[in-house]
């Protein structure tokens, strides 16, 4: 019975001490501790979500980089292709132009040659005619004397003539 009979003194001192401990700890320990714990947990949660976000951002950046790189690659290929086709075009154009020019020059040259030839022929004809007239004149003049001498004369004139 002794053991299960609570004494008033111990009840009083337990209640008093517990109350003092409770009020002291509530304001000087539990409040700052729970507040600090909460703040730290929140900051950790925030830091974690920020890291997660940064990771996602980085991933996005990487994929956009990849896209950009792919675009650049495509662009390069396109430029190269264009340049090649332009060069090919230029070469073929140049070739065409050169061949037309060549043809034109050849044609001109042929024309000139033909004209020169014609001119030379005309000159030749004229000289032949002149010569013929000269010879004929001289022959006509000598004819009056003697036949054999006329022949000799013709012969001698012909010796003088140099056909160019």
């Amino acid at each position: 019975m002794e053991l299960v009979t609570p004494g008033i003194g111990l009840i009083f001192w337990t209640a008093l001490t517990f109350s003092i401990v409770f009020f002291v700890l509530r304001s000087f320990a539990w409040k700052p501790i729970t507040t600090a714990l909460k703040e730290r947990e929140e900051s950790i949660t925030n830091a974690l979500s920020a890291a997660e976000k940064a990771k996602a951002d980085l991933q996005q950046l990487q994929s956009s980089n990849e896209k950009l790189l792919q675009e650049a690659r495509n662009e390069r290929e396109r430029i190269l292709r264009d340049a090649k086709s332009a060069a090919d075009k230029m070469v073929s154009e140049a070739t065409d132009k050169a061949s037309t020019e060549r043809n034109r020059i050849i044609a001109e040259a042929q024309e000139a040659i033909r004209q020169e030839k014609n001119a030379a022929l005309a000159e030749l004809k004229k000289q032949v005619a002149d010569l013929s007239i000269d010879i004929a004149e001289k022959v006509m003049r000598k004819q009056l004397t003697d036949k054999s001498s006329q022949m000799d004369l013709v012969q001698s004139y012909l010796k003088d003539v140099k056909i160019n």
Partner: protein, 354 residues
Amino acid sequence: MNKSYIKYFIFTLLTLFLGNKVQADEPTEGGVFNPGDMIIHHISDAHEWHLWTTTGADGKEHHVSIPLPVILYSEKGLEIFSSANFHNDLQTYNGYKLEHEHIYLADANGTILTDANGKKLAPLDFSITKNVASIFISAFLLITIFSAVAGGYKKNAGKAPSGIQSIFEPLIVFVRDEIAIPNIGEKKYEKYLPYLLTVFFFIWVNNLLGLIPTGANASGNIAFTMTLAVLTGVITNLSGNSSYWGHIFWTPGVPLWLRPIMLPVEVVGILTKPFALMIRLFANITAGHIIILSLMSFIFIFKSVAVGVPVSAFVVVMTMMELFVAALQAFIFTLLSALFIGAATEEHHHDDHH
């Protein structure tokens, strides 16, 4: 700052032990060892802090104890004096007699005064007994330790805990996340967390102090457990919302004719909850002490080394177990307090079935 406090505390304790020790000579009572008396003596409260007893050359026992202040309130008024004053043949001082750690009114011859019905007359005893002193020590330890822990949070704001802070942080977080939040709920737990934390560490520290040899059995005393159980009961009923009281006075979900019958059952339920808390803590701690003391008694009964060795091994095992029980009972008391508070503050929906 805190270190200097601790030094001061140790210094005070040492002066108490060395400076104020009192040697009282008492005749041995027949020299027969009575384990029952020894155990009851050890688990009961006392007006002095007994340290050890030696038997002198004259065959008398010398008790070395720290005397504690006796505070009495009676018709004669408030009286405060040292318990050392009772160390005389009659165990009587100034009209008070100390008999089996109870103080009664007595005459000059040491005869206890009785009233007309033969009941012994006693003053109200508010003495700083061994248990009270032990509770004071626990209060000092709690305030010192948790001021240091709180200081750690100021010093390491936003950083990882260090030192004593990292020892207690898991325990504080445990009480919050495993006891308060699951039982009371995310919304309301903050209001009750300081009480739950205080009650947890208060009981635990007192349990541990009780395990120290020569220590007091404060948390195994029914007055101690009753005070805390009543506190939980008061907090539970003061926090009770309309749904809680509705359940008690007009239990929903039961047939109408049963409701008046349920009323006394529910009202008794208000009392049985703290009562269970009181008995559980008292019985667990006291039983642990009784087991250890019973084992120890074997040594003095058989007066044999062959018994002493295995008994010591058993006592070591039991003490380990008691260390576990010390934490476990603090946890259970706190858990049940949280459960009762949670049940009283829970929001019920009207269409709920119970």
